[in-house]
C-alpha cells in the first residue's frame, strides 16, 4: 500500500487515494484531500463531512448521495455544488471513509 505524508503523520492509502484505515483520519487529512479536489472547505462542507463520518461509524458503510441528502438534510443540488463531480465518492475520500460500494 502507498503511504502519504500529512504533516508529521504517515498514513496508508489505497490505489485510489482513499485512507486504508478510517481511524487514522484527522481534520488535516480532510483539508489536504479537499485541496487536491480543488475544494475549499466551508462550514457547510464540514456539516456533510461530519455527517458522513458519523454515518460510517454507526453503520460501517459509506453513505450514498441519497443517504447524505436525506440524512443530513442537504438539497441534492447543493451537495453537487459543494462536492462537484461525484459527491458521494469525493466526500467519502475527504472524510477518510471507504469509497461507497454502490453495490451491484
Amino acid at each position: 500500500m502507498p503511504v502519504r505524508q500529512f504533516g508529521a503523520l504517515q498514513l496508508e492509502v489505497d490505489n485510489e487515494g482513499y485512507l486504508v484505515n478510517p481511524k487514522d483520519w484527522t481534520p488535516e487529512v480532510a483539508e489536504a484531500f479537499a485541496k487536491e479536489e480543488g475544494i475549499e472547505l466551508t462550514d457547510r462542507h464540514w456539516e456533510v463531512i461530519n455527517f458522513v463520518r458519523k454515518y460510517y461509524e454507526e453503520r460501517g458503510q459509506s453513505p450514498t448521495i441519497r443517504q447524505i441528502t436525506v440524512g443530513a438534510g442537504i438539497p441534492t443540488k447543493e451537495l453537487f455544488k459543494l462536492f462537484p463531480g461525484g459527491p458521494a465518492k469525493k466526500v467519502a475520500r475527504i472524510a477518510g471513509v471507504p469509497k461507497p460500494a454502490g453495490c451491484i
Partner: protein, 413 residues
C-alpha cells in the same frame, strides 16, 4: 396450538421460502400464510426480452396461486401496516383485519418509481418516447415503439442505485445493439448508456471488461450522472450538475423503492428497505422477523439468484432458530447473474460480499461449465433454460444442485 409463519410477498423469495418450509415443518403444528396484492406471478427476468420480441407477454405471466405447495394458505390483499412489537400485520382486505404471527418473513420486494423523477411521466413523453422495461406494461409498450424506430439518439438512464437486477440495463443496451444491427438501423442510431456509477459497473474487474464491451460496440458511456429531471419540451434529461443529454427515445430505469407498507410501518430506511443482518437475514431491530429477497438493505445485488441463495441459507437457519438454537452467519452475499450480450451469447458473473466477479469457469453439475466474465454461446442457453428451471424447480420448492455459498473453484483470482 399451531404456530403461524406469516410471509409478506409471494414473489420469488416469498414463494421459495414458503414452499421450502412447507416441506420441512410439521404442517400439523404450523400454519404458513402468504399475503400478496397481485394474482399474477411475473417471471421478471423475462421482461428484458420483451422489447426485442424474443418473449411475449404469455411467456412471463402465471397465476400466483398455482405456485404454492399444498398446505400454504394464500391471501390476496395489500399489506397495510406491520406491527412487530405486537407481532401482527394489518392487511387491507376484509375491511382491514389483523393477522397475528409467531414468525414473520418480509419478502415485499422493490419496485420502480418513475413518479420520483420530475418530468419523466409527463403525458407528452411517457409511453410515447420514454419507457421503463422493469414492468410488463413498460416492456410491452417499448416493444411497440421499437418496431417503428427509424433511428436517432437512444439514451438509457439509470436514475439511482440500488436497482433490482443491476445487470439488466447493460443487457438491454447490448441487446439493443444486436437488435438494431439485425434490423439495419444501427448506423442510424446513437446508443448512450448514462449511469450514476463511476463506470459501466462498480466492481473493478467486471467494470473494466463490461466497459470494454460497450466500447467495442460503439456505445457511449456517460458516468457519474445523477439525473434531476426530464425536460419533456426539449426532450433532454438534466443532471443535478446541469449536464444535459438529448434523446429521441429514453429508456429509464426509475428509482427503485421498497414497499410503501414498510414506510407506513416505520421499519425501513430512506428507500423503504428493512435494516437486515447481512449474514443471518434477521431484521436488525426485531427478533422473530426475517427479511428475504429485494426487501433487505444488505449490500449485495437485488436479484432472483440472490433470493435463491438467501432462501437456501435461511431455511436450515430458521429450523435451528425455532428449536432455540442461535442463528449461524451462513449467508455470504452470493449472486450469480447471466448477462445477455446479444448475438446469442452471454456472460456469467459469480460473486459475494467479499469476492468481486472474477474470470474463469463456473462448474454446475449436469449443465456447465459456464465461462465467467467471457462471452459464450452456452451462457446464453443457460439464461434461456433458466425460465424453465424457475417455474418448475425453484418456485416448486425444489433445489438446484449447487451450494448457497460462493465457490472459488474455477475462478482465476
Amino acid at each position: 396450538m399451531a404456530k403461524t409463519l406469516l410471509v409478506l410477498g409471494g414473489g420469488t423469495a416469498g414463494t421459495m421460502a414458503a414452499n421450502r418450509l412447507a416441506q420441512e415443518l410439521d404442517m400439523d403444528q404450523w400454519r404458513i400464510i402468504v399475503v400478496d396484492h397481485s394474482k399474477i406471478h411475473y417471471y421478471q427476468p423475462g421482461f428484458l426480452f420483451i422489447p426485442f420480441g424474443i418473449y411475449k407477454e404469455r411467456d412471463v405471466v402465471k397465476p400466483r396461486r398455482t405456485y404454492f405447495a399444498p398446505g400454504v394458505e394464500f391471501i390476496l390483499s395489500e399489506i397495510d401496516v406491520i406491527e412487530p412489537d405486537k407481532k401482527r400485520v394489518r392487511i387491507k382486505a376484509d375491511g382491514g383485519r389483523y393477522i397475528s404471527y409467531d414468525f414473520l418473513i418480509i419478502a415485499t420486494g422493490t419496485s420502480p418509481r418513475p413518479d420520483q423523477t420530475p418530468g419523466l411521466q409527463d403525458e407528452r413523453l411517457w409511453y410515447k418516447d420514454a419507457f421503463d422495461f422493469y414492468t410488463l406494461q413498460g416492456a410491452v409498450r417499448l416493444a411497440r415503439r421499437l418496431r417503428t424506430w427509424e433511428g436517432g439518439r437512444l439514451v438509457l438512464n439509470i436514475v439511482d442505485m440500488p436497482i433490482k437486477c443491476p445487470v439488466a440495463p447493460l443487457e438491454f443496451i447490448f441487446l439493443a445493439d444486436w437488435y438494431l444491427r439485425e434490423n439495419g438501423l444501427r448506423d442510424k442510431t446513437e446508443l448512450v448508456f448514462v449511469t450514476p456509477l463511476p463506470g459501466a459497473f462498480t466492481k473493478p474487474r467486471a467494470a473494466a471488461i463490461l466497459g470494454h464491451m460497450l466500447e467495442e460496440r460503439g456505445i457511449h458511456l456517460v458516468t457519474d450522472y445523477y439525473i434531476e429531471r426530464v425536460d419533456p419540451e426539449r426532450k433532454v434529461i438534466v443532471s443535478y450538475d446541469e449536464r444535459e443529454e438529448p434523446f429521441d427515445l429514453l429508456v429509464s430505469i426509475p428509482l427503485n423503492m421498497g414497499s410503501d407498507a414498510i414506510a407506513r410501518s416505520g421499519i425501513g430506511n430512506e428507500l423503504n428497505y428493512v435494516p437486515t443482518d447481512p449474514r443471518t437475514l434477521r431484521a436488525k431491530d426485531f427478533e422473530d422477523v426475517f427479511v428475504l429477497g429485494d426487501a433487505t438493505d444488505v449490500p449485495t445485488s437485488k436479484a432472483g439468484s440472490v433470493a435463491h441463495f438467501m432462501v437456501d441459507s435461511f431455511v436450515p437457519n430458521f429450523l435451528r432458530y425455532i428449536d432455540g438454537l442461535e442463528l449461524l452467519p451462513t449467508f455470504d452475499g452470493h449472486a450469480n447473474c447471466y448477462i445477455e450480450s446479444g448475438f446469442g451469447k452471454g456472460i456469467l458473473i459469480d460473486f459475494n460480499y467479499d469476492v468481486e466477479p472474477l474470470p474463469g469457469k463456473f462448474p454446475l453439475p449436469g449443465l456447465g461449465p459456464f465461462s465467467l466474465l467471457q462471452e459464450s454461446v452456452i451462457n446464453h442457453w443457460g439464461k434461456m433454460l433458466f425460465r424453465t428451471l424457475y417455474w418448475h424447480v425453484l418456485m416448486k420448492g425444489r433445489r438446484l444442485p449447487m451450494p448457497a455459498q460462493m465457490m472459488m473453484a474455477g475462478k482465476w483470482s
